[in-house]
Symmetry: C2
Subunit: 347 residues, 2 copies
C-alpha cells in the first residue's frame, strides 16, 4: 500500500481526543474507501472508540503511547516532554519516515509547529514555514497564508508564501494557474510597507506558474478576487478570526431578527430549507484545517474544539495534499524561483 | 454662538461632493436643530444644492474656494497644491482657528491626514495620531484603533492609542470607565510581539481611567468583549475591511438562499420586516466616520462613496465629539499618564 494513502492521526489531541478523532476518521473513510490510518495514542481508549466502527478498525493500525501534549503546553515544554514519544510527535515522525502521506492533529498549534519543524525540517530554500487556511468566498474558496506561524514577514518570505500557496491551490482546487494577491491597505505613500512593495515588485519581475494580480484589500478576500491571498501571520490571523467572529455575529443578528414576531417566525419556518442551506454554506467545519507549508512533509492542524464533521474535513484535505504530492511541487517550484528570481536578493 | 455647535464641511470631497454632503447635513440638522455649518467649496454648486433645503441654508455659511483635492491625489501633492486654499484645508483651518468644533470630509484619507497633521499639529505628548472606527457588535458598538493612520506601532504608541480610544468611548458611548483590550493572536511564545507585550505590561502597571482587560483576539471584536480595541494600523485596517467584506459576503449568501425556492421566497416575504431590521442592523452607513485622534482638533473622515444617510452619521459623530470636548479630555489624560507612567520609558 502506497504511503500517500495513509494518514497519521494524533488521536489524543484536541479538546475531546478519540471521541472526535475516531468518528471523524470514519466519516472520511466512508468518502474515500482507499484511505488507511495510523492511530497514535492510548491503545485502550482508541480500541474502545473503534468498537463502533469495525470498517475503520480494519483499515487502521494502532500505535500505543501514553504521552500526550496538553492543550496549554508551551512549544518548548511540549518539545522537551513529548519529543520521540508523544502521539503528536509519532504521527509527524510517521510522515518523516515515509509511513504516512500526512499527519493531522487537533492538538495545540504552537507545539505542533515546533515538533513539525524539528522532526520534518524546512524544505531547502524556504526560510520559514507558514500556516495556510481555506477561506470560503462568494464564488467558492480561496487560500490565505500565513495565518499565524510567524508575526512578520520580509519580502523574500512573502514571495515564498506566494509560491507555496499557489502550489497548494493547484492541488486543492485543481487550478493550473491560480491567481495570487498580496494583502495590503489602500493608503498611498504610507511608510513601513517596503517589504510588501518589494515582494510585489519581485513577483511581477519573473515568469511565475501562477498569475500575480497585485495588491488586494481585506474586503477582497471573501469576494474571491484571487485564489491565494498572501500576508504576514499577525494580520492574517487577525483577519481570519475577525471573519469568523463577523459570521457568528451576523448569525446571532439573523436568529434575533427571525424571532421578533409571529410573522417572522412563520416566514423562517417556510424558508427553513433555505436557512439550512445558508447555515451549511457558513459552516466553519467545512473549511477546518490549517496546513503547515514549507516543511518536508504535510502536517495539518485541526481546530481543537471541532467535532467529527470538522475533523473529517481536515483529514480529507490532508489526503488530497498527500495524493497530489504537494510537498514535491513546492520543493520544485522553490528551486526554480531560487534559480531565476534570486530570492536572497529580495529581502 | 459657541463654535462647538458649528461643523466645518469639505463640501466638494467624496465621490459625489455636494450631492451627498448637503442632503447629509440636512439630515443631521433635522436630528440636531442647534447645529450650524461652515460650507467650504464651490459657491455656485453649494448654493444650487442648498435650494432644496431652506432650513439648512439658514443655518449655514458658504465660504467659496475653487480648489479641491482630487480623490486620487497623493498626500504630498495634496499638501503642495491644496494648502491654505482647498476646501479640505479651509475646513480644518476653521477648527484650528476656533470657528468650528470639528471638520468632516469625504475626501481622500491620506491627503486629509497630511493636512490635519500639518494644520492642527499633534497634541503634546502624543507621538502619532491614529484613526478610530466605530465597529458594530452583538451587544452594541465598540471603537477600534488604529485602522490605518500608521502601519506599525511601538509599545508607547499602543498605550497612547488606548488612552485616546478610551476618551472617545467616554464621549461617544457615555461610559465612565470604558473597557480596553489589546488585539493579539492566540499563539504562545511567538516571537516579535514584544511591543504588544510591553504595552500590556505598561497598561497593567498603573491606575487608568479605563478598565484594561488584557489581550483580545479577532473574533472577540464583534462579540463586544471590550469597548475599545487597540492595534497597529495595518492589522486594524485589514480587520475592518475583512469584517465589511464578510458582512457583504453573508448578505449575498442570504439573498441567494432566499431565492432558491418558491417556499423560501414566500417565507422571506412574510419575514420582510425581520429582514429589514437585519439589514438596518448591518447597514455600514450607521457607523460611517473614521475619527482622527491625537490632533489639536477633531477631524472626521467619511467614506468617499457613502450617501446622505452615511454622511449624516459622520456629522452626528463629529458633533458629539465636539460638544463633549474630546480633545481636551485626551490632552488631560495624556498629560496625567506622562506624569505617572513615563511613556518615554515604555517604548
Amino acid at each position: 500500500m502506497n504511503s500517500q494513502h495513509t494518514i497519521a492521526l494524533d488521536v489524543m489531541g484536541g479538546d475531546r481526543g478519540p471521541e472526535v478523532v475516531i468518528p471523524g476518521a470514519n466519516l472520511s473513510l466512508i468518502r474515500q474507501p482507499e484511505i488507511r490510518f495510523l492511530l497514535f495514542g492510548d491503545e485502550k481508549a482508541i480500541a474502545r472508540s473503534l468498537e463502533r466502527y469495525p470498517d475503520l478498525a480494519d483499515k487502521s493500525e494502532i500505535i500505543h503511547t501514553d504521552v500526550s501534549i496538553p492543550m496549554d503546553a508551551k512549544p518548548s515544554q511540549a518539545l522537551r516532554k513529548g519529543r520521540w514519544k508523544s502521539g503528536m510527535w509519532l504521527a509527524i515522525q510517521a510522515v518523516r519516515d515515509g509511513k504516512a502521506g500526512a499527519a493531522v492533529s487537533a492538538g495545540n498549534t504552537g507545539a505542533l509547529m515546533a515538533m513539525a519543524k524539528f522532526c520534518l525540517k524546512t524544505l531547502p530554500g524556504i526560510e520559514r514555514p507558514a500556516i495556510a487556511a481555506i477561506w470560503p468566498t462568494v464564488s467558492s474558496e480561496c487560500i490565505v497564508l500565513d495565518v499565524g506561524a510567524n508575526v512578520s514577514a520580509n519580502a523574500r518570505q512573502l514571495v515564498e508564501f506566494a509560491v507555496m500557496g499557489a502550489a497548494m491551490a493547484h492541488d486543492v482546487f485543481g487550478q493550473k494557474r491560480p491567481s495570487v494577491g498580496l494583502l495590503n491597505i489602500g493608503v498611498e505613500e504610507i511608510k513601513g510597507l517596503d517589504d510588501i512593495k518589494n515582494a510585489s515588485a519581485a513577483l511581477r519581475s519573473f515568469d511565475t506558474p501562477f498569475e500575480y494580480k497585485g495588491f488586494v484589500e481585506g474586503d477582497d478576500v471573501g469576494q474571491g478576487v484571487v485564489d491565494v491571498v498572501v500576508t504576514e501571520g499577525f494580520a492574517g490571523n487577525i483577519a481570519l478570526k475577525t471573519a469568523e467572529g463577523t459570521a457568528k455575529q451576523i448569525g446571532a443578528y439573523l436568529r434575533a431578527a427571525m424571532n421578533r414576531s409571529l410573522l417572522a417566525r412563520l416566514g423562517a419556518f417556510l424558508a427553513q430549507d433555505a436557512f439550512r442551506a445558508l447555515s451549511d454554506k457558513m459552516d466553519p467545519r467545512h473549511s477546518n484545517g490549517g496546513v503547515f507549508l514549507g516543511l518536508k512533509g504535510i502536517v495539518i492542524k485541526s481546530h481543537g474544539g471541532t467535532d467529527a464533521t470538522g475533523f473529517a474535513s481536515a483529514i480529507d484535505l490532508s489526503y488530497d495534499l498527500a495524493r497530489e504530492h504537494m510537498v514535491e511541487r513546492i520543493a520544485d517550484n522553490i528551486q526554480k524561483y531560487h534559480a531565476t528570481l534570486k530570492l536572497d536578493d529580495v529581502a
